[in-house]
């Protein structure tokens, strides 16, 4: 078996004085899709922010592509280039002037010190290819603030796509979309995942989507309550551990109604 893209071992994170994530351990294998599920306030966003070094961790080890994440949140540049992160609600201040191709170009750029015109031609070509793959090349000169929700998500996928990546970390990526746009988003995401061989670590509230698409599920409520295949982790007895038995009864009633 090839090396995991992400290994988390005994991760504990405090938010101010509040224990948000406690002793969480798991691994993400290359090319697989891992979902983190759990109720609101379960520490899902905190967990992935700690994995990326956005919030500091109290203890535990994080290895991204085999490299340890330091307690100051540092990773080598080459590793940072191989991961892409889309936060929950990518909310852009409408007053910021930025075009679609500039935003996608930022996905290509190295973030260290460099002259702004270095690699201009390669960058342009990469942006062009990425936008073409998500069928958004025609939007290249539009302001990001003028895009619809669905268009914005497509452009953000181009931001991930503009360089070869090994791991995508998505915090409720389709949040804010209507049902139709959400289904379009997932269709495009999984098509690109197939083509690019991405591993995905995503937070989701959509248990139906998780059941259909994910290979591995982490059930989190501050602690990791269970993990495994969707069939195992989404079984009623496991879900009631995370969400409480009321939720499970409701969820199953909804599913039954849906099937009828």
């Amino acid at each position: 078996m090839s090396k995991p893209v992400l290994v988390i071992d005994g991760l504990t994170v405090y938010r101010e004085t509040h224990l948000a994530v406690e002793q969480v351990s798991f691994a993400v294998q290359p090319g697989t899709d891992t979902a983190i599920i759990g109720p609101n306030g379960a520490g899902k966003s905190t967990l992935i922010q700690a994995v990326l070094g956005i919030v500091p961790r109290q203890s535990g080890d994080v290895f991204v592509l085999g490299c340890p994440l330091s307690f100051q949140g540092n990773l080598p540049d080459a590793v940072r280039q191989r991961i892409a992160y889309l936060p929950q609600h990518f909310w852009l201040d409408r007053r910021i002037p930025i075009t679609v191709s500039e935003l996608v170009g930022l996905g290509w750029d190295r973030m260290g010190l460099q002259l702004p015109w270095v690699g201009r031609r390669t960058r342009h070509q990469a942006v062009r290819n990425a936008l073409a793959q998500v069928e958004a090349w025609h939007l290249r000169d539009q302001r990001v603030s003028s895009l619809s929700g669905g268009e914005t998500k497509r452009v953000l996928l181009a931001y991930c796509l503009v360089r070869p990546r090994s791991l995508l970390i998505l915090d409720e990526a389709p949040a804010g979309l209507d049902l139709r746009s959400e289904s379009d988003f997932y269709q495009l995401l999984y098509q690109l995942k197939q083509e690019q061989g991405w591993a995905i670590l995503q937070i989701s509230h959509d248990l139906g989507m998780v059941r259909r698409n994910c290979d591995h599920v982490l059930c989190l409520n501050r602690k990791l309550l269970c993990q495994g295949t969707p069939d195992h982790a989404l079984a009623p007895e496991q879900l009631s551990l995370a969400y409480g038995s009321e939720f499970v009864r409701y969820h199953h009633t909804c599913q039954l109604n849906h099937k009828l």
């Binding site: 990326l52 540092n74 992160y85 852009l92 002037p97 930025i98």
Partner: protein
């Protein structure tokens, strides 16, 4: 007097060394203010630059009381003050604008009280409030040129990180940007720009150099990189226009430049209404 004679008079004025220094000082402040201002307004720090400007009066007063040259006390004071305010803002849970209001009004008040102990500065308070661009010295110009070079180098080399962290800080951190280092460096440069420009522009008007050209540039640009360049360019142009008008009609130079900035901003509103499609704005 004919227009031709007026023109000759203005040209003659600009041959005087102090006017040349004033013009260069205005252009340099316009360039630096516009360059850093483009990020300052998007990061909602415009009130911060205002607070820095007002607090400079406190720096000057402390310098005078200690018997030191106020221009050189002001620079380290501005930097320390900015870092202290940033530290304070990050660690309290009050509203930023309310806190900045407390800081700038109290530093202005304490500054004026300290000045009252120095009788000879009573008359000079107008100069401190509104600046005296004609008093710009060669040493100030040299420092401004060096500071402009540092600002351009910093923004140029970290441009991508600056843009990404302006858009979304968590995304920038996930890409390896050290947001706190970048933010602190930016604040230090902004405070140096404000500190060096106080003598020429005054504590009340300095934030206009940071805010107005950037707002005008925002109305005129679609792309981020163009926006930064236009902002710096408008800062420099307004300084030239303002100085010309001030020489032509014999008006105070700092307020003339700020009025030129306002005229440019109003024109930018008109141009953006007529030339830029609704989907683009």
């Amino acid at each position: 007097m004919t227009i031709e004679a007026e023109f000759t008079r203005v040209i003659g004025l600009f041959q005087l060394p102090f006017m040349q220094r004033a013009l260069m000082g205005g252009v340099l402040t316009g360039l630096m203010g516009g360059l850093l201002g483009s990020f300052t307004i998007l990061r909602q720090l415009s009130f911060f630059s205002d607070a820095l400007g007002h607090s400079a009066l406190l720096g000057i007063s402390i310098g005078l009381l200690l018997g030191l040259d106020p221009s050189w006390v002001m620079l380290p004071f501005a930097v320390l003050f900015a870092l202290a305010v940033t530290y304070f803002l990050e660690r309290t849970h009050l509203w930023t604008d309310a806190l900045l209001n407390i800081i700038y009004s109290s530093s202005l008040a304490i500054g004026v009280i300290l000045l009252s102990f120095r009788d000879e500065y009573q008359g000079g308070i107008t100069n401190l409030l509104f600046g005296d661009i004609l008093a710009v010295q060669t040493a100030d110009l040299i420092f401004s040129v060096l500071l402009l070079a540092v600002c351009v180098t910093f923004i140029g080399l970290t441009l991508r990180s600056q843009i990404l962290m302006t858009l979304n800080e968590p995304m920038a951190i996930a890409r390896g940007v050290s947001v706190s280092t970048q933010r602190t460096t930016f604040i230090v440069l902004l405070s140096l720009v404000v500190g060096i420009s106080i003598k020429a522009i005054g504590v009340l008007l300095i934030s206009a150099f940071v805010v107005i050209p950037a707002c005008a540039a925002r109305l005129l640009s679609r792309e981020f990189t163009h926006y930064i360049l236009i902002s710096a360019g408008l800062g420099a142009c307004s300084a030239v226009v303002g100085m010309m008008v001030s020489a032509l009609v014999d008006l105070p130079s700092g307020p003339s430049i700020v009025s030129a900035q306002l005229a440019i901003f109003l024109s930018a509103i008109l141009v953006s209404k007529t030339h830029i499609s609704p989907r683009g704005v």
